[in-house]
Amino acid sequence: MKLVKHAKSVALALAIGLGSSHSFAAEQTLLNSSYDIARELFASYNEHFAAVWKEKTGNTVEVRQSHGGSSRQAQAIIEGLRADVVTYNQVTDVDILHTRGKLIPADWRDQLPNASSPYYSTMAYLVRKGNPKGVSNWDDLARDDVSSVFPNPKTSGNGRYTYLAAYGYAQKAFEGDEAKADEFVKTFLSRVAVFDTGGRGATTTFVERGIGDVLITFESEVNNIIAEFPDHGFEVVVPKVSFLAEFPVAVVERHATRNGNLELAKAYLDELYSEDAQRLLAGFNYRVHNEVVQAEFADQFPSVELLTIEEIAGSWDDAMSIHFANGAKLDQLQRR
């Protein structure tokens, strides 16, 4: 009796499992591998794209989303996750798809406008109600009465951007005097109250444990945090100089071809550059390239001088070896 029951439940479960994987085959599906915290952005964009695609081709498309830390997401694709497109928050994680997996061409940054980065953001400050410490720029964060919170640059892309932004600021402020820039960043790092492993942890430290005067994170994230904790009266401060955080996208050609989705995948990324989509992105607090949309959202995005990775360190490869490798600059400056 027992065995028969079990056999039945197995059969039933199998039917459910197979059924669910089959029911999606009727329409076109696209898999987008993305970074964490981008869920609502792409839920909204996918709806937009589905409507555009339906009008253009008459086909229904369902875009599935995979979210996670983008380094891990890239690793999963190399190990066989059959994503058609990637939409990440770090250039290095897309690069790896070429260098380690040969899944995309070497010149992937030239395939789409703006170095394949349809939108961008920068590092901004979240300060406590009324900005009691009067923080406005990076030099304030080196003051001994101000303590800041941001994720560890060793483990988090978010933290790496903050470190590079501070370093880029120091390079400018001291007109390329490396010793002085190093000294500044060393002081800046010594004022950090807690290094969490990721962005979410840093937010918890700042908001729920009440540690630090400034939380440094993506400008695009700051509004999410304010919205989640409306009672705290947090305020946003955008420094005068900051780092250009790109959000690179690419078609994973090998997989998209295999899935028969190449055309669809290209259209999906192209559409990100359309005016409507750029407006949608700006609504999620990302900065965009479209000039019409830029003008519409001018109030929301204070002007800021954005430094690129090329200006600060030459290239991402150099940045990794000069600053973030074991025993490199970051390690030296953190030694107190």
């Binding site: 197995v10 039933l12 964490d36 999410n224």
Partner: protein, 285 residues
């Protein structure tokens, strides 16, 4: 012995009461408060909010995927566990002791390592995986992969429960059955199964709890595709990362609910097992 020792401690009331209050304090702060907090957070937006979160398409899919994986894992490990326990307690063969040790491998390695092992083997760069990819078979980053690692991390539970019991019970009853002319299947149905049924249920309850709650190994092979390979524990993390704390705790409260049910069933089974043991003892006396 034990009763006398505890009496001696109880002779000094302050020792007894400070120990009791310390234990209650620890249980309260470490276990009860967090458990209550999960449900408080889950209903943070009221009952309506809870229902909205739970009927979310992705949450419903996560629930059904988790149920599917558990429903497939349990029979697989049930058969495997009984087979293995029978083998090592009823037969003598070279390598038997080694086999008993090997059963515990899934307990000894971290689940993340287990997940990585499967990924290295069946991922598209692994030597089995690259062949599978040519055959257009996708195991990793789809539900079969999740099932594989779940079976791996839960496979010792049933066998671990059965082996000590079957060793203790010995094979006399079964030998008697054989001399009376029972076939292998009759022997199992009429003699072995009634003796082990409560331990078996106990093993199944533990397997189920772990299969539904497993995070580490599943996280490695899942690929985190919403509405496709996202199990309930992974869904909790995703929602939390999304700044959707209420949604995260709603899903977490489901897992906590499963845990509570598991505890009740476990206590009941333990009580039945204890009773069965008493009966056995009386009979042997």
């Amino acid at each position: 012995m034990q009763t006398r020792a505890s009496l001696r401690v109880g002779d000094q009331p302050w020792v007894k009461w400070s120990l009791i209050s310390l234990a209650l304090f620890i249980v309260g702060t470490l276990l009860i408060v967090p458990l209550v907090a999960i449900f408080v957070q889950a209903f943070g937006d009221g009952v309506q909010g809870f229902l909205t979160n739970i009927t979310d398409t992705y949450t419903l899919h996560a629930i059904s995927l988790t149920l599917l994986v558990a429903a497939l894992t349990i029979p697989l490990n049930l058969v495997f566990g009984v087979f293995l326990a029978w083998l090592v307690t009823r037969f003598e063969f070279p390598g038997r002791k080694l086999l008993i040790t090997l059963i515990d491998i899934p307990f000894a390695v971290s689940p993340v390592v287990a997940g990585l092992l499967y990924l290295l083997l069946y991922g598209s760069n692994g030597w089995l995986g690259s062949w599978l990819m040519d055959q257009d078979v996708q195991l990793m980053f789809s539900w079969p992969g999740i099932l594989m690692v779940t079976v791996f991390v839960t496979c010792p539970f049933v066998a671990r429960e059965l082996i000590p019991l079957m060793q203790q019970q010995g094979k006399e009853e079964e030998e008697a059955g054989v001399t009376l002319g029972a076939s292998g299947w009759q022997l199992f149905r009429r003699v072995t199964l009634p003796n082990i049924q409560w331990a078996l249920i106990y093993g199944v309850v533990l397997t189920n709890a772990r299969a539904m709650g497993e995070f580490g190994a599943v996280s490695v092979v899942s690929g985190n595709i919403r509405g496709e390979t996202n199990t309930l524990p992974l869904h909790v993390e995703l929602l939390y990362q999304d700044y959707n704390a209420v949604g995260a705790f709603t899903s977490a409260s489901l897992l906590a609910g499963i845990a509570l049910i598991t505890l009740f069933v476990k206590s009941f089974v333990e009580w039945r097992q204890a009773r069965q043991r008493r009966v056995l003892d009386e009979v042997s006396e």
